[in-house]
């Protein structure tokens, strides 16, 4: 029997992770609930006036999305490292970079994409006009891709350490600063009704750079973490 091609194997990884996610929906739903709860806190803590909320909506949306995707990262590699799945990835002879990229892509499908789809609801609650939603959605799609990729590197690096959580955030949040800046700027422009191509291109560039380099770094990190 000939060995399966690399893309075949990557597809299997995606399939497996999707199946695991459907068996444990709480892992997918919790970051989403967290996203909603955090944004709910702002009207309560600041003001219920929609005009004022609209002014801080870009920051709130992006910080909440950043924190929610941070929260979801813990589950990206940790369990598979503990039950030996990642070890099998390493010894399988298949390119680890590609397998981890497949895992990260699936992770994005289960966190970044739902977060993006929830944004209209949350944004609407913050007084974001309907016309801005298209721009905000496209910015969030590109931004959450980068966040998942940056997070994958952090999650790989913290495999070797005893405690994940806080350290993972400390490692990843400074690296995610450009995504936050460009994303919030795009959202601000969208709300104001201006053209947001500039920040969108920059978000796209960060995402492309992430797709190119982050899986390599994540693979190196996971190898070190599993020893």
């Amino acid at each position: 029997m000939s060995a399966p091609g690399v893309f075949r194997v990557a597809a299997w990884v995606v399939q497996r992770d999707l199946r695991l996610a459907t068996r444990r929906p709480s892992q997918v739903l919790q970051p989403l609930a967290f996203f909603a709860v955090v944004t709910l806190l702002f009207p309560l803590g600041y003001t219920p006036e929609l005009a004022k909320l609209r002014a801080i909506a870009p920051g709130v949306l992006w910080v909440a999305a950043l924190l929610a995707s941070m929260l979801a990262l813990e589950s990206l590699f940790r369990e598979d490292a503990e039950d030996g799945t990642l070890e099998q990835f390493v010894v399988s002879g298949q390119p680890l970079t590609l397998l981890l990229f497949a895992k990260t892509a699936t992770h994005w499908l289960m966190t970044g994409l739902p977060l993006t789809l929830m944004a209209p609801l949350v944004g609407g609650a913050l007084g974001v006009p309907f016309a801005a939603l298209g721009g905000i959605l496209s910015a969030l799609v590109l931004g959450t891709i980068s966040l998942s990729l940056i997070g994958a590197v952090g999650a790989g690096l913290t495999l070797a350490s005893r405690r994940g959580g806080v350290l993972l955030s400390l490692l990843t949040l400074p690296l995610a600063v450009p995504v936050l800046i460009f994303g919030a700027r795009a959202t601000e422009l969208a709300i104001a009704g201006d053209s947001l191509t500039g920040p969108l291109y920059l978000l796209g560039a960060v995402a492309v750079l992430g797709v190119t380099l982050a899986p390599l770094a994540a693979a190196a990190a996971v190898r070190i973490g599993l020893e």
Binding site: L157, T158, S161, L170, P174, L175, P178, I181, A217, I224
Partner: protein, 244 residues
């Protein structure tokens, strides 16, 4: 080409002795330059026409800010060398860099705040350079946190090396995004010093200070490197011979 000189850097005893020999060659020029530049900067240089004597903090602020960034580059280079050639000594260099770099970041932030109080009327403004420096500080903290959280030295070395490299790729992007972020939210800051138009007796102490601080970093790095090597090789037999 003969690469022996390079491979010799892989040997802890060799580097330990070399670092010991080199330390005074960095420390003494550093001390002389810093003392000379202090005199030049605090006494000889004329007061600034706008800021008066307040500008003199630049002689500490600018060199620390420069070192904070440069040390990160040195650290990432050492980490990369350690990762590629599996050189334990290079990892020891990276480990010795982190603490110094983080402190210089703190010094540059604190002096920046002290400078900001009389010039801007407040200790902290979200000036792009201050903000980028703050983010750099968090990058250092993350690096040291990761290193501290892994017990096994070799794994800690390589994991933190990957982080340092990721950070060094990201650092320019962070710097530019922060500059861009601020250019939107805030009018250009009050303080735009035209460096080339700085008179010579203001500039010369600054350059001497930059060189002095850099040499000082070299000396501190060598001392810390020796301590780090001793810690790592504490069970090796050459240390007993070296120290008796």
């Amino acid at each position: 080409m003969d690469w022996t000189w390079f491979h010799k850097f892989g040997s802890p005893p060799h580097v330990y002795r070399l670092a010991g020999l080199l330390t005074p060659w960095f420390a003494w020029p550093a001390a002389l330059l810093i003392l000379g530049a202090l005199y030049g900067g605090l006494v000889l240089a004329p007061p600034d026409y706008q800021q008066g004597d307040g500008f003199r903090i630049i002689y500490v602020h600018a060199p620390s800010a420069w070192l904070a960034v440069m040390i990160y580059a040195v650290m990432a280079t050492a980490a990369g060398v350690g990762l590629i050639w599996r050189m334990k000594v290079a990892h020891a260099v990276a480990a010795s860099c982190a603490g110094v770099g983080a402190w210089f970041t703190v010094v540059s932030l604190l002096t920046g705040m002290l400078w900001g109080k009389p010039m801007w009327g407040t200790y902290w403004v979200w000036d792009p350079r201050l903000t980028a420096q703050l983010i750099l500080f968090f990058l250092y903290l993350g690096y040291m946190g990761l290193r501290a959280s892994i017990d096994d030295t070799s794994r800690a070395d390589r994991a933190s090396a990957v982080l340092a490299l990721v950070g060094v790729v990201n650092l320019p992007i962070i710097r530019y995004s922060v500059e861009w972020w601020n250019s939107i939210h805030q009018a250009p800051s009050v303080m735009k010093m035209d460096r080339p138009s700085m008179p010579f007796d203001m500039l010369a102490p600054l350059l001497a200070m930059l060189l002095g601080f850099t040499l000082y970093f070299g000396a501190v790095l060598l001392i810390r490197l020796r301590a780090e090597i001793l810690r790592r090789e504490r069970n090796a037999s050459w240390i007993r011979e070296e120290l008796t």
